[in-house]
């Protein structure tokens, strides 16, 4: 097998492992996949919509649905990448690190595997949205499906960076992911509009990678609607440039730091 073929094969098998592991405990996976949208969209989103969004000229639940989808896809992939620390705890990373493959292939496989498993999360969100009668046009669903891989890959790249920083124990890695994921959820406009955010909150909102992912998704879904200017912050091209830049940077720096941390003890 040629070098490139071997790397592709390695990425495939590492991604497949994530999927097999995810579906091996399919009951828990299914329950949690549906529990999350029910809690965040049904309970949190529903309460905000009923009590705090009277002055909004657009459908808040649709707005929140898109934000939560982007946030959840990114977070699920981040969690999957963070499981590298759990693998290390169980001595399984040794198997990866002695294999004659690039370290980037290992991380890429993890991200792709996590992205595939987060597809179930997307499916659960769409089902819950339909059940809650949140308007989702076929075009909107198509935009979500098309952008989902980009969101997952970006989330995975951020996950690599977080994992490289919080890599001491699986607990530290999970807490790191949760800390970053929730900060992003509240600051990026995933749940709460940030069009009028200013000062420190405004700055934080604009340095959150999630802001650009969420806004990119909304930019595509709300394109051509009367609410576009009220909801979307920047042009989708700006978002794409920002998302590509931070994803590549996080992936390269995160992988470098993680591998260095593994070898330079």
């Amino acid at each position: 097998m040629k070098s490139f073929q071997r790397e592709v094969n390695a990425v495939t098998v590492i991604a497949a492992r994530e999927v097999v592991r995810f579906f091996r405990d399919w009951r828990e996976s299914l329950v949690f996949s549906f529990l999350f949208p029910v809690l965040f969209l049904g309970v949190l989103g529903g309460n905000i919509a009923q009590n705090l969004t009277g002055s909004l000229s657009y459908n808040y639940l649709q707005f929140a649905l898109l934000g939560m989808i982007a946030n959840t896809l990114a977070m699920t992939t981040m969690m999957s990448v963070a499981s590298l620390v759990e693998d290390r705890q169980n001595d399984f990373t040794q198997e990866f690190f002695v294999a004659p493959i690039s370290r980037y292939s290992i991380i890429t496989g993890k991200i792709i595997g996590g992205s595939i498993t987060s597809g179930l999360q997307l499916f659960a969100f769409v089902i819950v949205a339909i059940a809650m009668k949140i308007s989702l046009t076929p075009l909107a669903i198509l935009c979500i499906i098309l952008l989902a891989p980009v969101i997952c890959l970006s989330g995975g790249a951020l996950g690599v960076l977080i994992t490289s920083v919080f890599s001491s124990t699986p607990k530290a890695a999970d807490q790191g992911v949760i800390l970053v994921a929730f900060s992003q959820m509240f600051l990026s406009g995933a749940i709460i509009p940030i069009n009028n955010s200013s000062g420190v909150l405004g700055i934080l909102a604009r340095i959150m990678p999630m802001t650009y992912l969420v806004d990119l998704l909304r930019g595509l879904v709300y394109q051509g609607t009367p609410f576009y200017s009220k909801i979307v912050l920047y042009n989708p091209l700006i978002h794409l440039a920002a998302v590509t830049a931070f994803s590549v940077a996080f992936f390269v720096v995160g992988t470098f730091l993680f591998v260095r941390g593994e070898r330079n003890r």
Partner: protein, 340 residues
């Protein structure tokens, strides 16, 4: 003890410089290797040098914390060294780590298996990572060669029936066997075994050794082994003992026994003075209980006994075991450390 220490020192120097097999070429070359962990003052591996020759079974021994696993981790590219030079199968560790990984197989001290997968899935993952076979999501889609190879190995190690069961149901011994199958799937030039028989019962240990010897012979695989079981070093072509990060012995198991430990006869007779006179050429020593101790190195016990006419009332031949030789070496090093 002084004489033994002197012997050890001379032998060590001689071995460290010259010891090599006549037939093999150096497949692992380690020169002035140092590893100092972060936030520690002492080096875990302290300027060690040795060669392992192609096709040999090389045993790397030492007490807990001696530097065995650190060394094996560096050689298998999972741990960065602080300084030194390592060449494995002609590839430089600094610039050709990936090529090195292609040539080696490893059985780690702690099993590195995914307990959420079945035994076969773990192996399929391994062969795909090594690029031996293209990954297929199902066993039945894998090529016939893969199936034959895995079934053959599983048959030999007696885990064929469990191949498709989740690893969670496997005992420690079965997991070890699975790791052995996995490490041999890509036919490595060098097989690193970090305490491979740890946790195995005597029968499993024996079957593992039978298999490893067969692999070494048939596939000409070089085996680099660390172990706590000293008797396992008897199987080795050469033994290297590391203690406190430094090599204290490098040589064959018989050299270890013959040259480092006293071999002696303990004799007694009713007429001890007559016996003592007859043994005079062999520089006898009186033991605390009055019996006579005669060291032998060049001679055999029979050659000494032939000289004796005095009727004996007691005779004991003390020949060292490998374990005694090992303990002697390690303790000697520790004593030196305390004195220093």
């Amino acid at each position: 003890m002084k004489r033994l220490s002197e012997n050890s020192r001379l032998i060590n120097q001689e071995n460290l410089k010259e010891n090599k097999l006549d037939t093999g070429f150096s497949i692992i070359h380690v020169s002035k290797l140092v590893k100092k962990y972060r936030k520690t003052e002492k080096a875990a591996v302290d300027n060690i040098s040795f060669d392992v020759y192609a096709g040999e079974l090389f045993a790397f021994l030492g007490p807990n914390g001696a530097g065995k696993t650190t060394t094996i981790s560096i050689l298998t590219t999972t741990l960065a060294k602080s300084s030194g030079k390592v060449i494995i199968a002609g590839n430089d560790l600094d610039s050709q780590a990936k090529e090195i990984r292609q040539d080696i197989g490893i059985i780690f001290q702690n099993p590195s298996l995914d307990l959420n997968l079945t035994a076969e899935e773990n192996i399929r993952l391994h062969v795909s990572l090594y690029g031996i076979y293209a990954y297929k999501p199902l066993y039945r889609l894998m090529p016939k060669e893969y199936k034959d190879q895995i079934i053959g190995l599983a048959d030999f190690l007696g885990i064929r029936e469990d191949l498709f069961k989740p690893l969670k149901t496997f005992s420690g011994g079965m997991r070890r066997k699975l790791e052995i199958i996995r490490s041999l799937m890509h036919k490595p030039k060098i097989l690193f075994l970090d305490e491979p028989t740890q946790g195995l019962d005597a029968v499993s240990r024996k079957s593992l050794w039978d298999y490893l010897r067969r692999v070494g012979r048939e596939q000409e695989t070089t085996i680099f082994l660390t172990t706590h079981y000293i008797e396992e070093a008897e199987y080795a072509d050469r033994v290297c003992i590391i203690n406190h990060g430094k090599i204290v012995f490098l040589g064959t198991p018989s050299e270890m026994k013959n040259r480092l430990i006293d071999k002696y006869l303990v004799l007694d007779a009713e007429n001890r003075s007559a016996l003592g006179s007859e043994l005079e050429p062999f520089q006898p020593e009186a033991k605390g209980d009055g019996k006579i101790k005669v060291h032998f190195k060049q001679q055999t016990p029979q050659q000494i006994l032939c000289r004796i006419r005095t009727p004996l009332t007691f005779m004991e031949v003390h020949t060292p075991t490998l374990e005694e030789a090992y303990v002697d070496l390690v303790e000697e090093k520790d004593e030196k450390k305390v004195l220093a």
